[in-house]
């Protein structure tokens, strides 16, 4: 019971709030003032009295219109209920007003020809203007609803786009290590500050690397050549940072350069070689990236490092497992990723596929 009472109470409050907004009131007042001016010649009632009377009726009708919105009957479309409420409220309000003017006496009202005449005129007026205005209001409401929906939709869409972007950035973050980036930038800073002629080529490598690494994440058109240039940019940066203990070579035969190749695959192997091979080795080492086609037609792309080598207990990162899966998705079940000991030391990682 209390819940119902509260419900009705809050509905009434919402109704009153929605009826008596400044915008709505102003609209009603202006409309009434204009209409009164138009119809005044056919009334005996002076203008200022007629304005108040019509305004009272108009407010009542407006209340009915809003009430129709809040207490729509089940099974009846809302707009029908609202127009119906307006049609009924118009004559009713006029009648009540007229009765009030003659002190509530029915016989006095019926006996007064002017009053009855006025009643009919006002009723006709209300029936002509009110439903059309109600329909207009309904139309505008629907428009506002559509606009609101469109906005909500746009908001949701941008939210989804943002999420997609976040996911990409996260992937990027995982791929481009902050440690690598900041250390490289520290090197670039020194080159720039000391006015070294190396600054320009190093920045070029960094830009090439970043440019290649960013959009390539979901790039399906990547080839062995684009991947090799990404790897070259990365290795050039590493060489700059460790010139005394790191060297590299990349050998991709021109005939294989155009082969389709999953983006970042080679970079993952090269990054691993740096991280687990070269980085921890005091003496450093070298990395050789090669591609070759066997007589059988199989293509092998390998990354060999002469670094510290892999401990039996070194936890394999998720990078290699992910790469294995990506290769299977990209090339089908014939593709393999294999790791072996390199001679004389370090690790040899080989991707094999039918290309």
């Amino acid at each position: 019971m209390t819940a119902l009472a509260t419900d009705i109470g809050s509905r009434t409050k919402a109704l009153l709030l929605s009826v008596f907004t400044w915008k709505r009131l102003l609209f009603t007042v202006v409309t009434v003032v204009v209409i009164t001016a138009l119809v005044q010649p056919i009334f005996f009632t002076p203008y200022h009295e007629l304005v108040w009377q019509l305004l009272a009726i108009a407010l009542f009708v407006q209340l009915a219109f809003s009430a129709g919105e809040y207490w729509a009957l089940p099974g009846v479309p809302r707009w029908v209920a609202q127009v119906l409420a307006v049609v009924l409220a118009g004559p009713l309000a006029t009648l009540l007003l007229q009765l009030a003017l003659v002190g509530g006496s029915w016989s006095a009202f019926v006996g007064h020809r002017g009053m009855v005449h006025g009643f009919f005129v006002v009723t006709v007026l209300v029936l002509v203007f009110a439903p059309s205005m109600a329909l207009g209001a309904l139309y505008r409401q629907r428009d506002a609803q559509a606009q609101h929906d469109a906005l909500a939709f746009a908001l949701e869409k941008s939210e989804l786009e943002k999420q997609a972007l976040d996911a990409r950035l996260k992937l990027l973050h995982a791929q481009i290590e902050p440690h690598f980036l900041f250390n490289t930038l520290a090197n670039v800073q020194e080159l720039v500050e000391s006015g070294s002629s190396l600054a320009a080529p190093v920045l070029r490598s960094l830009i090439a690397y970043l440019r290649a690494a960013m959009p390539l994440l979901d790039h399906i058109d990547a080839t062995l050549a684009t991947e090799a240039s990404l790897v070259r940019a990365y290795l050039e940066l590493m060489h700059l940072r460790m010139p005394d203990r790191f060297a590299f070579a990349i050998d991709i035969p021109p005939g294989l350069a155009g082969l389709r190749f999953p983006s970042m695959a080679l970079l993952t192997l090269v990054e691993n070689a740096i991280r687990h091979g070269i980085d921890p080795a005091e003496q450093g080492g070298r990395i050789d990236v090669r591609a070759e086609r066997l007589v059988s037609g199989e293509v092998r792309v390998s990354v060999a490092d002469t670094g510290a080598g892999l401990l039996d207990t070194a936890t394999p990162g998720t990078g290699l497992a992910n790469l294995r899966e990506r290769l299977l998705v990209f090339y089908g079940s014939g593709a393999r990723l294999e790791l072996a000991e390199n001679v004389p030391r370090g690790v040899l990682a080989t991707i094999s596929f039918q290309g």
Partner: protein, 264 residues
Amino acid sequence: MTTIAKVNATALIADDEPLLRERLRGHLARLWPGLTIVAEARNGREAIELFEQHAPQIVFLDVHMPGQSGIEAARAIARKAQIVFVTAHNRYAVEAFEHGAIDYLVKPYDETRLADTVERLKSGLVRPNAESGAAIDAALERLAAELERRGTPSAPARLQWIRASVGSSVRLIPVEQVIYLRADEKYTLVAWEGGEALIRKTIRELVDELDPQKFAQIHRSVIVNLHQVAQVQRGINETAEVHLKGRSDVLPVSRSFVHVFRQM
């Protein structure tokens, strides 16, 4: 102030990247003409050696260096010099450094930041803080623990790669791809997703090294990857047979190992 401004001191720079050593040396020369760089080290081991040789008052240490890390070097040097860590690892260092016992620079740093450090170093040399020694030790402990935690998992190191001769090369097989291991006269046979290979490690050694959550010994001569087991069938005399996913091989489970599958 005048005493501080005129402080003369000696320092050692340790960083595996030559350009970054050069940069630090250049900036220090400008900011602190009274500071002499007595040596430059390329790794933690060299840093310790050169420190013992030259006994500088200040040591700039890159955290991430090949071989011994900067933190290991700092523990060896400990209270004998003022230490400033230089790192590109914002995240793992800052927490330990926050307690203020040890100064640090995050790469790439700017000259103003380095100037602050220089001021602190100078006042530290003029007024050594006797109480800070313990705080430094504590901070180094935290850093070392953090580095350890990041580098290697705290659980006992499990075998992750099987080295197996295949043809002329030594393959590194991730243990996840191993299906089972079986003693085969002098060798152990490794059956993995890519084929079969022989290794010298014995079943007994492998049982101790493999992760017991993933591998179980089911026979005196057999270890199986539990993820590869399709079903276990009971046999006569309290033995059983293991059938593998997508393979026709059947592995024996001897009586003393049947308990492995009891609660499954």
